[in-house]
Symmetry: C2
DNA sequence: CTCCTGATATGTCTGTCAGACATGTCTACC
DNA sequence: GGTAGACATGTCTGACAGACATATCAGGAG
């Protein structure tokens, strides 16, 4: 099996920023990272247990004033090393499963107007995300003035922005073409 | 559970083009469709069985001269209707799992030069795919002169092309930025 | 004519994943 | 003293990825 349980490494990576609890990880993964890395909630806690067992991370107790005690985790030297080794390996490519495009491909069998609806929704969603990302681009550099991670984060952001722009442009073109196609093929 | 077993519908969709065997489906899925829809080989035959049991498709015997008898399948009216209903539903969005971007995000922990290697490979791969797609754009319209599917296929192709172009452009920009980043952060 | 190679053809199996669902705790406010 | 809502930690099922297994047939090499 060449599937590498990437969840472990995503967690490991986040812990390079600072020690966190499972809940923190979940929030991080659900927010900024979510634009290019979706983690399944159900994987996080089992993965943490496994990582502790392998001694890639270690649990640390944190007593916060006025807040419940949370189980936090920190990288061990072993974990840091494993992460580095993983980062050196060529990235695994996610097999594409673009359901919108599949439906478009089979468009001849679709009920009238459905495809246009799908593409419109697709476009709107990407426009929303693009808005968020463009806002990030403005605010992140100020908040994290000279974080060592900043340069890398901006590259990821740039990727997200360009991809969304391409999707939006394609959507526009496609919408006009769909209109003329359905006119031509009308029974 | 909201996961919809999309494999069934991908198969159903391909059978609208013409009756096919499992092997034909596998080839189709491994070739043209593969650019936006990757199907796991292991799913095809079980899915076919299920589809037959549900009477969405029916097995037909084909005796080809000089070739082994293959089990082919054709859509039933029920199947055609189910496909149509599915096409009308909003497409499910694949959760993103872009391992390259994840590695870039964690770039600070990566060994020297590794990221640049990854991005270069990423760029090369997309350039190769773009070449294939651009070639498709030239040849497909001639081969399938007035297929009812042609218009839809071209839309999918266009999507693939634009996305790849965006990836390639981002790669170029990123490569120059990585170079200057690693210079600045050198110890 | 027999062996071998490679395309044809049909599957199985294991670990990983998606994401809905379950459960309990603490704070703040009424 | 109750309860709404954030905080926090999990479990569970069906679907999926993709490596692996197996058998048949055609055509060429010896």
């Amino acid at each position: 099996m060449s599937t590498t349980n990437t969840t472990r490494y995503a967690i490991l990576g986040l812990l390079t920023i600072q020690p966190m609890s499972g809940y923190d990880l979940r929030k991080h993964l659900g927010e900024s990272l979510n634009f290019f890395w979706a983690e399944s909630n159900g994987q996080i806690y089992p993965a943490l247990k496994k990582l502790v067992a392998d001694e890639w991370i270690m649990p640390i107790k944190t007593h916060q004033r006025g807040r419940r005690t949370r189980q936090q985790y920190a990288l061990t030297p072993v974990g840091r090393n494993q992460l580095k080794k993983w980062l050196a390996k060529p990235p695994h490519i996610q097999p594409p499963r673009n359901e919108l495009i599949l439906k478009l491909f089979l468009g001849r069998s679709a009920p009238n107007g459905a495809l246009a609806q799908h593409v419109k929704a697709f476009k709107r969603r990407h426009e929303d995300v693009l808005g968020v990302l463009l806002n990030f681009r403005k605010t992140i550099p100020k908040d994290n003035a000279r974080s060592a991670d900043l340069d890398y984060w901006m590259l990821c952001l740039e990727h997200g922005i360009r991809l969304r722009q391409a999707e939006i442009e394609w959507s526009s073109v496609t919408l006009t073409r769909i209109a003329s196609t359905s006119t031509r093929n009308r029974r």
